[in-house]
Subunit: 291 residues, 2 copies
Amino acid sequence: MDDPAFALRDATIAIVGIGLMGGSLALALRAQNACRAILGITRSPATRDQALARGAVDEASGHLSLAASADVIVLATPVRTIMRQMAEIGAVARAGAVIMDLGSTKQAIVRAMEQLPARLEPIGAHPMCGKETFGFHAADAALFQNAPFVLTPLARTSPATLALAQTLALTVGARPIVLDPARHDRIVGAISHLPFALAATLMATAADLAQNDDLLFTLAAGGFRDTSRLAASDTTMMLDILLTNSNHVANLMRTYAARLNQFADSIEGKDESALRTMLEHAARSRRELYV
Amino acid sequence: MDDPAFALRDATIAIVGIGLMGGSLALALRAQNACRAILGITRSPATRDQALARGAVDEASGHLSLAASADVIVLATPVRTIMRQMAEIGAVARAGAVIMDLGSTKQAIVRAMEQLPARLEPIGAHPMCGKETFGFHAADAALFQNAPFVLTPLARTSPATLALAQTLALTVGARPIVLDPARHDRIVGAISHLPFALAATLMATAADLAQNDDLLFTLAAGGFRDTSRLAASDTTMMLDILLTNSNHVANLMRTYAARLNQFADSIEGKDESALRTMLEHAARSRRELYV
């Protein structure tokens, strides 16, 4: 690793958006006493009060201008809000400041980062530790423990900035992984955005059926609870994710739907050997993955 | 409730199949000291030894003939095994014996029960507390706590037998619910069999994609883990369920696939208002269901 232009422990970090991710980052940095100061920026006065009361931030504001003095600015709002905030951040940030985000899609954000003034040091990031809960009250200093923390440097990102980002990820207990934005979006489409789409569609399907049978949810057990869990995710956050990874996600959903129809064919056709092969393959893969 | 012909506490109960469900039933009855004796029947000598060692059963055998002296015979094998065992149980069981099963589909089993000799007292049952784990080593006396315990009496089932089955369900901590077999199969198709089919298809889809990207599973977080959990279920058990509830399940899968394709259309068409309406509806339904 190259030496960063400044050390994390000497840095003032501004976090924009103090929900589950931003709030957890503040708490995790605080728990490690990892930097000089933490500034929190959010429109919600109640969240500002809570973040100050829990000691997550040293100072809080509803205005991006608070980030002017920061060495590192972390954008932790929904993806399309991050993209909208990029120009204002570019105008506000001091020369040499590292601009990082925590958004769940990376191609669209990195494209927006490419427009930042040359004096700034952008790098994309995505810690893989979402929950279906959200908001600062759900924030947790331990959220990043052992989580993969994807970093997507731009062509212009300096080795020093990449090193700082890696240090930050390691400091909060995560495992930094450097990745190309396109590959990131393709992978999370399959292992994060598709599962969300499936859970939301399951919940919508079951809610419709429940209108004709009031016992339906009474009988729902652990299997339904787990498979539908992601449907409770924050709508604005997920909408932004789906719309900024639309090609990958829509293609995956169509491939999945075709496979599900084939599976239904095998059930209707009582094709026991095809079914057994498919189910055993899926069961073996799942058991190997989570031993 | 009518008085049963015999009290549960005086009964000898034979359990055929001592896996997760049968083993848990034995342990739960034992923990409550609920009956006179528990007999375990399984082909596996290792499971017989374990069940005897844990005190789950008083006596164990590999042969259905052990059930000849039982007042209650509980079939806890996979659905199609239950159907195959029904004739032999009919030949072996003593007059007045209650024949109950714990299978996850009820129409096919109840039809098989209708063929039992008139001297026997059949009733279908399905405790809604499956896990993706299986086998006697996963058995747990607390498995049925607060779980809905569906009972599907036949036209010929006596009030006394229904009362005994309700007592048994209450004794192991479950909530008995009397239901028509067709309605049961329609409901569990939606809240149990469809979620399994979705999880298996997700796991198969992701495993295929992982062959071209070795980082795919490295980045999988809690969302993927929960949504794919049911894919690890026992293949023989699930195959029997799908094939004995094939019409309901296949129809639900096709409806679901059509809905998923519509969802993909909305994403590709950037139809933000349709997406927001659908996602908010799903999120609200999920949050109301599990508060």
